[in-house]
Amino acid sequence: MNQEIDYVVGAERRLAELLPRGEIQPLMEAAVRSGLSRVRLLGDDGEPLAEACSQSAVQAPGLKRPLLLEGEPVGALEAEGPSDLAPGILELLFAVVDRMLTNNLKRMLTTEIHTQVVRQSYEELLESHRRLATSEQRYRNLARNLDLKVKQRTEELKLAHVRMLQQEKMASVGQLAAGVAHELNTPLGFVSSNLSSLGRYLDKLQAALLACRELELGEAQRLAFEKQWKEQKLDFVLEDIPDLIAQSLEGVGRAQKIVSDLKGFSHVDSASLVCLDLEQELEAALRVLAGRMPAQTRIHREFEALPRFTCNPALMSQVFLGLLSNAVDFCDKPLELRLGGRCLDGEIHLSIADNGPGIPAETLPRIFDPFFTTRDVGEGTGMGLTVVYDILRTLGGGVEVKSEPGQGACFLLRLPAGENHA
């Protein structure tokens, strides 16, 4: 049974509760002063609850008026006094006491119900407050998490956007390279072919000139011819022409090689998945970077026979180019590269090590973080190594780095040696 039920509205009241002595006593004393010699308030058991009497008590027959509370006899008023005054005073006193009973009961009932209602309303308020507080807390949490979630998603979106831009950039560079290469190929082709023809034509000219020199000419004509020969330094010219042609052809050949590497590197022509020789891909990247390599660069290669690896070739080009450009960009003395490849525990391990300044211990844990860069603002995107990391993860492998300041940096790439990959 709950607590409220202990507090019942309209509980039974006793006469003594409804007519406190302090209230009834002055009335009874007033009645005595008015002429009664004695007046008593009796309870339902006949015991007096209050009494008043005069000094000069006159013995007289007693009068009695029963008191009713809610229809129930609960006591009586008893009076003694002169027979001419007593009944009137008692009647008056009875009327006052009866009214007092009713009013006090009414007041108590009102207080009871009021207290009860206030208590109950207060409890209901507490309960509703508790529910509101709970609900507020829930919304607060939701709002806070929402904020966090929005931040997270925004960060992810930003990252994805930058990655996309980076890949887009690489793709555009590749396409540009491929386009340029294609456009260069044609002129280079006819330059090369014309140079060969030119060489043959010059041979003919030389033969004709030498034959002219041997002709029987008059003295004056011969001197004039020799004079011309010397002035035009034809001895030197005829000697130098084959070298020039050969060097030009060699130059054109180199240009054609570069163009072909660019095309191959950008893989613009390739299908999305190609079975790659990783060592050759690494060499292609080196060739693309050849122009940026400092003089006296030394490259050590230590490759075991590697299984072919199937993937989108543009991805591997990006990885190699990213790592090699870093080595080239950061080198502070004649560059020495150590490239290696071997098969270990079902994985292909490729290593690219340089002799550069190395990576400080405090930046080492952050080098794969997006937007982390040690270069000046505007120089590096902070995405180079992030892209390397992403690509290797996509291909089911990974990348680790070992570096001591001053001792260079060594990147170890791991790729699964199994079947086809993305």
Binding site: E4, E70, G71, E72, T102, K106, L109, T110, Q116
Partner: protein, 228 residues
């Protein structure tokens, strides 16, 4: 929830007049007060009202004594009908021994009746009581007005429930005493089961009702109306 003190030989019973606002609960008690003899009852106590609307409750007490000397007090309460006084209704409903549900017969008030009845069920549950075990009489009041639910409809609605239903016009004094008597009869049975009123205290069903409901001699309803 009968309040019985065997040592003091006292029994206190509580009857509550429940129902929607302005259905005539206080008028029921006013008429009982006027129509019943002064012996055996106290005065009607009307706690403070606001614009003649009950905000706390009204109380009409009755007193009788069984041949065994058992003192029986029966208090008839009204509750405030207005929705906002729900806390008061709960407080008054505590330990009720019987309920008279005063419904407004006007068809327009049907929804209010239903709502108030559901409120009664809810609040009884709140104070640990249940309609299924509580003596209940449903009174369709205001039978004197036009636009009211027909007697036939009332019978159809309540006939199957086994709940006692009366029709009344409290303003005219009709059906008020009858309603009260119906409740007293059901109430007597419930008390008798618990404390053997008839067997141990010598108070029979008829005597119980007759002692409480004692009409004034020669009282005419017409006169009552003129006093209004």
């Amino acid at each position: 929830m009968i309040e019985y003190d065997a040592f003091e030989k006292r029994l206190v019973l509580k009857v509550v007049y429940y129902g929607p606002a302005l259905s005539g609960k206080t008028t029921n008690l006013l008429r009982l007060h006027e129509l019943l003899a002064r012996e055996q009852r106290g005065d009607l106590m009307v706690l403070d009202t606001k614009d003649d609307r009950t905000i706390y409750f009204d109380l009409l007490p009755f007193f009788l004594q069984a041949p065994s000397g058992l003192k029986i007090k029966l208090k008839a309460y009204t509750v405030p009908g207005q929705v906002r006084h729900d806390a008061t209704r709960k407080a008054v409903l505590q330990r009720a021994d019987g309920v008279v549900f005063v419904a407004d017969s006007q068809i327009a008030e049907t929804a209010n009746n239903v709502e108030s009845f559901q409120n009664l069920e809810r609040n009884l549950k709140f104070v640990g009581l249940s309609l299924s075990r509580l003596p209940l009489v449903v009174q369709y009041n205001k039978r004197d007005l036009p636009g009211i639910v027909s007697s036939e409809d009332i019978r159809r609605t309540w006939g199957t429930t086994g709940i006692a239903v009366t029709e009344a016009s409290a303003l005219e004094g009709r059906g008020v005493v009858e309603t009260f008597e119906r409740l007293l009869l059901v109430l007597f049975d419930r008390i008798d089961e618990k404390i053997m009123l008839e067997a141990e205290h010598g108070l029979g069903r008829e005597a119980f009702v007759r002692q409480i409901v004692r009409p004034l001699e020669g009282q005419e309803l017409r006169e009552q109306k003129e006093i209004e």
